[in-house]
Symmetry: C2
Subunit: 334 residues, 2 copies
DNA sequence: TTGAATTAGTAAAACGTTTTACTTTATTGC
DNA sequence: GCAATAAAGTAAAACGTTTTACTAATTCAA
């Protein structure tokens, strides 16, 4: 019933707790424990199915082999895919991931940080939101490895991995223009984070470079956690503007709402109306016609995040902060 | 730098550690600590930002306020949605969720169970796979609350929450037949779990009840973790059979592969060819025409799971096991 | 007035590890 | 033959809490 402790093993093997601990932690050689004792203890451990209590271990060592992952919403496929990739890669290095969603709420984000802190996670991987700068700053000051991905907070000085949102957005608009589009709309959110701003800047710059005047009526900023029905209503209104011949959606869920609108108002994507969505989604490939998307390099993002985190975890001194910007890929479908 | 401990607070307040502990845990009244001391200590705690070390707490109390959630794959939208719902609901009751994916690997599942065990999670919510019966049995014998959802293991005697897969499948086929379909295919997986078997049984029974002969050539069992390209190839082969006038896909990712095939071979869904997918997905609503689906009652499943778990956690004695079967909803789209 | 009960609080053990500093015995070098 | 070194192992402190059992001072009841 009661689970075994190291003491039980020590008693069974007739050695001290210390000895068992050394063996468990692979320090037997270095601490000169005899081959015979090692074997005996290992046999007993294997037979009894003893597993060290990680909580006691964490309490003593101060680290947990757990990395905390804070994202906006696990049910968004962008995040769930990246979470899965990060989980896989961390797992292979002996780290576990705990993840939790902020739902874009500053309060929830702060609570999560506190929860992770009091659980002594070894590192934090965060897709941050505005308003938690202070909390992050404290983590950094306490010497915790913190890495941002997908989004960055300009005021905070830490490593970041993300796609090149500015260029991806720029290229999307450029491709519209190359197709001869003149009235290009942008549906984005009012979340005030760098990556969203960059997408917006790329949109503006591409227009400007092509001598197209920026028209504020063509930009729709959706409030970040309103009901989808309201979003749909607003997009419908935007599209009532018949001049619009192309739309860039700045996130996949906005694009999905947008596609629902198109279906409702029976507007077809084709030669005279084009759409590009940011962040791929299974629905886009299946859609008829296929929806062109800016595909974020999920695999590379996850790879780099883990690489940077592990580097920090294994080095005593804090390595230089790095900003890894990975090009996104524009996938043209039809 | 170093984070505060209860001792620091005690020193600052000039009281004993015990007193601080009582106050933190809301036992001050009951332990007759004076109002003045309570206030003083609470003020110091608030000002210093002290947060109890949950690890030490867990070590001492033996519970963690964490519930472990084991699912097949967090990047599958069915699981990520349900995870999100469970997370939300648990969170409101003061429980945190740690989740991790098994990827349908028995080894990984066992490892996860061990990891959760050594981290002393208070309860386990599992979408189980065949092959982990023994491990689950051990958890149960040790008195851990364990609840299955989505899938059940017949040999294990514990609570379960899931949709009524048999009837959902039966109704889907019945609706095909009502539309006059005669050659109805089933694309399913070879995972040997109850819910998949039930979907298959529902298919067979509906055919039988309508006097249609079961034709084994119309049933395709996809190996559960093969490459998608292979799956697509196999579905393509199946659909080479021109007689087929309806297909039920037993999971959402199979349906997605199926839709990709339809797109490739340019086969249209319409009067003479119908499709129903199990488990809804954003892509199905957006698809033109809309894809009919069996919608699992995610909200209710999550609700019931949490309700049962919390009931077990709050009662000393283990409550009766319950099997909660919730009707699924067939959504006809076009 | 005294013994019991209440109030206000504390000391110390316990949870299960890791790790430091130590002991004892055997081996080596000269 | 003896000091120094190596080999094999252990006792006990520490990590930060909770909780049990205790003390001391005050109040109460008869």
């Amino acid at each position: 019933m009661k689970s075994l402790s190291i003491k039980d093993i020590a008693v069974k093997a007739n050695v001290s707790i210390t000895t068992v601990s050394f063996i468990i932690n692979g320090k037997a050689k270095e601490k000169s424990i005899s081959e015979a004792v090692i074997e005996k203890v290992e046999k007993i451990i294997a037979e009894s199915g003893y597993k060290p209590n990680q909580i006691a271990r964490s309490l003593r060592t101060g680290n947990s082999n757990i990395i905390g992952l804070i994202i906006e919403d696990i049910s968004n496929s962008f995040f769930s895919r990246i979470a899965r990739l990060i989980e896989d890669k961390a797992y292979k290095k002996g780290y576990k991931i705990i993840y939790s969603s902020t739902e874009n709420s500053v309060d929830k984000a702060k609570e999560l940080i506190n929860m992770f802190k009091s659980r002594k996670v070894d590192a934090y991987i965060i897709s941050p939101i505005k308003g938690i700068e202070e909390d992050i700053q404290m983590l950094l000051e306490d010497g915790n490895p913190v890495i941002f991905f997908d989004r960055n907070l300009p005021d905070i000085n830490t490593s970041y991995v993300g796609a090149d949102h500015f260029n991806a957005s720029y290229q999307s608009i450029q491709s519209f223009i190359d197709q001869g589009k003149k009235n290009i709309a942008l549906v984005t959110t009012d979340i005030n984070v760098e990556q969203i701003v960059e997408r917006y800047d790329g949109y503006k710059k591409a227009l400007e470079d092509n001598g197209i005047k920026y028209d504020e009526n063509l930009v729709l900023k959706i409030h970040f956690n309103q009901e989808e029905s309201e979003t749909i209503e607003q997009i419908k209104q935007l599209l009532a503007n018949k001049k619009i011949d192309a739309v860039l959606f700045a996130t996949n869920y906005l694009a999905i709402s947008g596609l629902k609108v198109l279906k409702q108002i029976n507007k077809k994507i084709g030669d005279d109306f084009a759409v590009i969505a940011y962040d791929d989604h299974e629905a886009f490939e299946l859609h008829t016609p296929g929806i062109s998307t800016v595909q974020q390099p999920l695999e590379e993002i996850a790879e780099n995040v883990i690489k940077l985190i592990l580097k920090q975890l294994s080095s005593k001194t804090k390595p230089e902060n790095q900003q890894v910007i990975i090009p996104a890929k524009l996938i043209i479908r039809d």
